[in-house]
């Protein structure tokens, strides 16, 4: 377990900034104003990045490397080429700070949760002024985050699209908790 290097931090933040707005800096602000206040930090265990409280991370340093399975919230993993891949486990953090959102109608929830892209017919609401290829967080109509994806069209273009046209490419959905159960937390 180790902190991230500068390069790794940059890669991670660049990925998170795809989905979030300016409030992202709240992620790393100290919890209170005292000089030795507890704060959240990023820790790399093997190739996975965890978002964890500093006090817990310090405690976890007592656990042997082989015995430490996970700590805090897993945000994703670094690929062998040095890119960062967000996991569905990062959804609560992304949903808190999301910049662009897509609300899916109830008839579109299951197709999305089974790993499908979002078609126009299933979109209930949609953030205005969203550009193309921009990260969006997908919600159900009762504001439950379901996953996240990347827009296929800008909002203006999507209006002219036919109902079967794809408006959002899926990146991760809650169905992965079941589908990728074996590999999501270890391996």
């Amino acid at each position: 377990m180790r902190p991230l290097t500068e390069q790794e931090t940059q890669t991670l933040f660049a990925k998170l900034a795809n989905y979030t707005g300016a409030s992202l800096k709240n992620l790393i602000t100290p919890l209170d104003d005292s000089p030795n206040a507890d704060r959240y930090v990023f820790r790399l265990v093997r190739d996975r990045v965890y978002y964890v409280r500093l006090s817990i991370a310090n405690l976890a340093s007592n656990v042997a490397r082989d015995n430490l399975l996970a700590l805090g919230t897993c945000l994703g993993k670094f690929s062998k080429t040095g890119k960062f891949r967000l996991h569905i486990t990062a959804l609560p953090i992304l949903a808190q700070h999301a910049r662009y959102k897509v609300w899916v109608k109830s008839n579109g929830e299951m197709p999305f949760l089974y790993g499908g892209n979002i078609v126009k017919a299933h979109v209930g609401r949609w953030s205005e002024d969203c550009p193309e290829h921009q990260g969006v967080v997908v919600y159900s109509m009762n504001d439950t985050p379901l996953g996240f994806g990347v827009t296929a069209r800008s909002t203006a273009e999507a209006r002219r699209l036919d109902p079967t046209g794809i408006v959002c490419f899926r990146q991760a959905d809650c169905g992965e908790y079941l589908r990728d159960e074996d590999t999501l937390f270890a391996g």
């Binding site: 902190p3 660049a14 704060r39 550009p131």
Partner: protein, 189 residues
């Protein structure tokens, strides 16, 4: 060992007038060789040699920092001089904040440029659409006009030269029939 000299005339004295005699050339000596004091006077030739040797310092390739020829050095293998070994971690809030600010500014710029581009494209598309609509309208009105024109053209001759037209029509319909009697076939009784 002292250098040996051949003495041509041993007995020639200094003042004897014999030119090449040993006694006449050098200072007066009794034939006793004095031992030289060590280090009293260094010979000039040896000093020159020493200075030359100092100047000719041989540098190794490592000292000069010349890259080795015909060798491929992978990126990870060649370590920069005077740099600390290992990774540099970022764990303090300040540096994290700076990195985050840089990244966010970059993303913001990207999104902004995307939006501007999208808006421009949208404007162009809108202008094209309006132009196309206008053209379609024009074409439609032209078509209507020509249609109207054709209708009027058709109507005019009927109203103006109604009688002649009717005669011509009759003639065209019945003219040929009237001239030629129809052939009839009947069964023989």
């Amino acid at each position: 060992m002292a250098p040996t000299r051949t003495v041509k005339n041993k007995h020639a004295a200094n003042g004897s007038g014999i030119k090449n005699s040993k006694a006449a050339r050098g200072p007066q000596s009794d034939g006793i060789v004095k031992a030289k004091k060590p280090g009293s006077k260094p010979t000039p030739t040896s000093a020159k040699q020493l200075t030359k040797k100092k100047k000719r310092k041989v540098y190794t390739e490592k000292e000069l920092g010349i890259p080795k020829l015909n060798m491929i050095t992978p990126v990870g293998v060649e370590k920069p001089k005077g740099k600390k070994k290992g990774k540099v971690f970022v764990d303090d809030t300040e540096s994290m904040n700076t990195i985050l600010a840089i990244v966010q500014a970059e993303k913001e710029g990207q999104i902004e440029s995307k939006m501007i581009k999208a808006r421009q494209l949208e404007q162009i598309r809108e202008a094209r659409r309006i132009e196309a609509e206008k053209k379609y309208e024009e074409r439609q009105t032209k078509l209507e006009e020509t249609k109207e024109g054709l209708r009027k053209k058709r109507k005019r001759p009927r109203t103006g030269e109604d009688e002649t037209d009717a005669v011509v029509k009759e003639a065209s319909v019945t003219g040929s029939k009237a001239k030629k009697p129809k052939k009839k076939v009947a069964f023989a009784e």
